[in-house]
Amino acid sequence: MKITREDVLHVAELAHLDLSDAEVEMYRGQLDSILAYVEKLNQLDTSIVEPLAQVLAQISAENPSLRDDTPASCGIADALFEGAPDPSRPYFRVPKVIDR
């Protein structure tokens, strides 16, 4: 067993997830078995392989992500604020972060 309860709590903290005790125990076991499964990648020697982050660089001569950065209005602010949980234009209101 590789993954401990503390590991699960640490990852949940990083991921901003509230987990119940039952979830912590369930994910501990499941992460453990998924990690054991993906260990099989270590059977492969990849010391001279370049990582492939995405395939576009391979398949297209131009790099489409390097377009001109031209700002344009998308005109959706009203709709966005309308759907927000606690809007206060032009802001989204959240619990106080800094004490004065």
């Binding site: 997830l17 990849t46 576009l56 391979q58 398949i59 297209s60």
Partner: protein, 488 residues
């Protein structure tokens, strides 16, 4: 509608071409056709749970636009009047888009995805949004917060996932075509389980603007239809560069429909032995082998292949996809949209919102992806997976230097029973074993019906092609379908 144009359930009487011809000949109006599909949905959706949200106002407004084009004798756009369904991870302006998640239960996008905009510009009538696994994470549609979809051909079975609602809607005749998304098999596998053609285009071929992201280096939008010809018609509308999506590629779009009926004689099809391994249902194996013989009878030459890194694809996929998901889903924190669970502090609000808003599979993947990206583990997991991804992509590059297409089963098994695989997440992941390879390599793939099991469950044949060779795999799928592949 004069002389009721549909019999109780079949969907095959409505095709893109038949609808245009019928509209032009004034046999029916787009409004009548739209009403017909809404009445089918009303009748059958409660049992299937394929649609989560309907948008009749938008649909009838579009239908009326088409009807006035007909009345004015104007040119009809390519998908005029075609009733379509949209997977709920694709944004639709003014129409709720939940992603199958509680966290977006009330979310109404302020804009349309480019794919949606293109369909409507081409005359399609959007009926509503379809159920799916939460944030497209799943292979059975059982991870939806809004309940599972049932397979229209076998109601005790899953429709596949994650685009299960779109596949079921088309298979049940509740839409003529639909949009799905495919990250590891989520178009092709439900297409296979529901017995309809289903296509994942090349990475970069179809704009993803407005697609609510799961794993950005893998996510693609593609069509379901009840015939390969209709899938090609959908692809013709969807494909092409979009300035709003910097990962869409500016390469010419072939005329898919015109290419469709060209002969397949002489094409070399690769059969990788790794895709016929243990764990495959014997009837799937038998039908796919019969499918290969059918292609040979049409003049294709089969070539045995080895693709040695296939066995590493699931492990690679689950690291890459979950790592990207953990990052993409960080945005759901209760601040700007969707669910907010109040908390004393900002952090508490984040944690409670996410803890309550996400379902078990999404949390599992966020946890795994966060772990794989966390300090001290990045090299061992994420970087390692990206390197193995390069090896898997290289297997395909080498294969395509020898063959024109690769033919495999879409899924090792036919549609399984609801609840059969939910206990063990790893077993569910392994259901994607034949589809994730093509996802990692960025190549196009199509699943086309290839006979049924003795119980009547559809089997899918998967055809992979090189990057941007959509026309070629559509042509092979068309030849296969026309030669009777579905009834092998």
């Amino acid at each position: 509608m004069t002389g009721k144009p549909h019999s109780p359930s079949p969907n095959d009487c409505w095709t893109v071409d038949a609808i245009r011809a019928g509209l032009r000949a004034k046999k029916f109006t787009a409004r009548e056709l739209t009403r017909e599909f809404f009445s089918r949905i009303e009748e059958r959706n409660a049992g299937l749970n394929a649609y989560l949200t309907l948008c009749p106002e938008r649909a009838y407004a579009q239908a009326d636009r088409i009807d006035s084009l007909v009345a004015e004798g104007q040119h009809l756009p390519p998908l005029a009047g075609v009733p379509v369904a949209i997977k709920d991870v694709i944004s639709t302006r003014g129409v709720r888009s939940t992603c199958g998640s509680r966290i977006l239960e009330t979310y109404v996008p302020p804009y349309d995805a480019t794919a949606v905009e293109r369909l409507e510009r081409a005359g399609a009538v959007i009926l509503g949004k379809t159920n799916c696994d939460e944030f497209a994470m799943g292979s059975s549609n059982e991870n939806s917060a809004y309940g599972p979809v049932r397979n229209p051909l076998a109601p005790d079975r899953v429709p596949g996932g994650s685009s299960g609602g779109s596949a079921a809607a088309v298979a049940a005749g509740l839409a003529v075509a639909a949009l799905g998304t495919d990250t590891g098999g989520s178009i092709r596998q439900p297409g296979s389980f529901c017995g309809i053609p289903a296509m994942m285009p090349t990475y970069g071929r179809v704009s993803r603007y407005g697609l609510i992201a799961f794993a950005s280096s893998l996510d693609r939008i593609g069509p379901f239809a009840s015939s390969v010809r209709d899938a090609a018609a959908m692809m013709a509308v969807l494909a092409g560069r979009d300035p709003k999506d910097s990962s869409s590629v500016d390469l010419p779009v072939e005329n898919y429909s015109a290419e469709l009926d060209k002969p397949v004689k002489g094409l070399r099809i690769g059969i990788p032995s790794e895709y016929f391994g243990e764990g495959m249902h014997p009837e799937v194996q038998a039908k796919v082998e019969a499918g290969i013989r059918l292609l040979e009878s049409l003049g294709c030459r089969s070539v045995e292949l080895r693709m040695p890194h296939t066995d590493y694809a699931i492990a690679t996929y689950y690291i890459v996809a979950t790592a990207e998901a953990s990052s993409n889903l960080a945005r759901y924190d209760g601040t700007r949209y969707g669910l907010r669970v109040p908390g004393e502090t900002l952090l508490e609000m984040y944690r409670k919102t996410r803890g309550r808003g996400f379902g078990p599979e999404v949390k599992r993947r966020i946890m795994f992806g966060t772990y794989a990206l966390s300090s001290g583990y990045y090299d061992a997991y994420y970087l390692k997976a990206q390197k193995v991804r390069a090896l898997i992509a290289r297997d395909f590059t080498e294969a395509f230097s020898r063959v024109d297409a690769i033919v495999t089963p879409t899924s090792p098994v036919p549609a399984f029973r609801l609840g059969e695989r939910t206990a063990d997440p790893l077993q569910m992941y392994l259901a994607d074993i034949y589809t994730v390879t093509g996802s990692l390599a960025g190549i196009p793939g199509i699943s086309v019906p290839c006979g049924k099991t003795s119980e009547g469950l559809p089997i899918g044949l998967q055809i992979f092609g090189p990057h941007f060779e959509e026309a070629r795999i559509l042509r092979l799928a068309q030849a296969f379908e026309q030669a009777g592949g579905a009834s092998l």
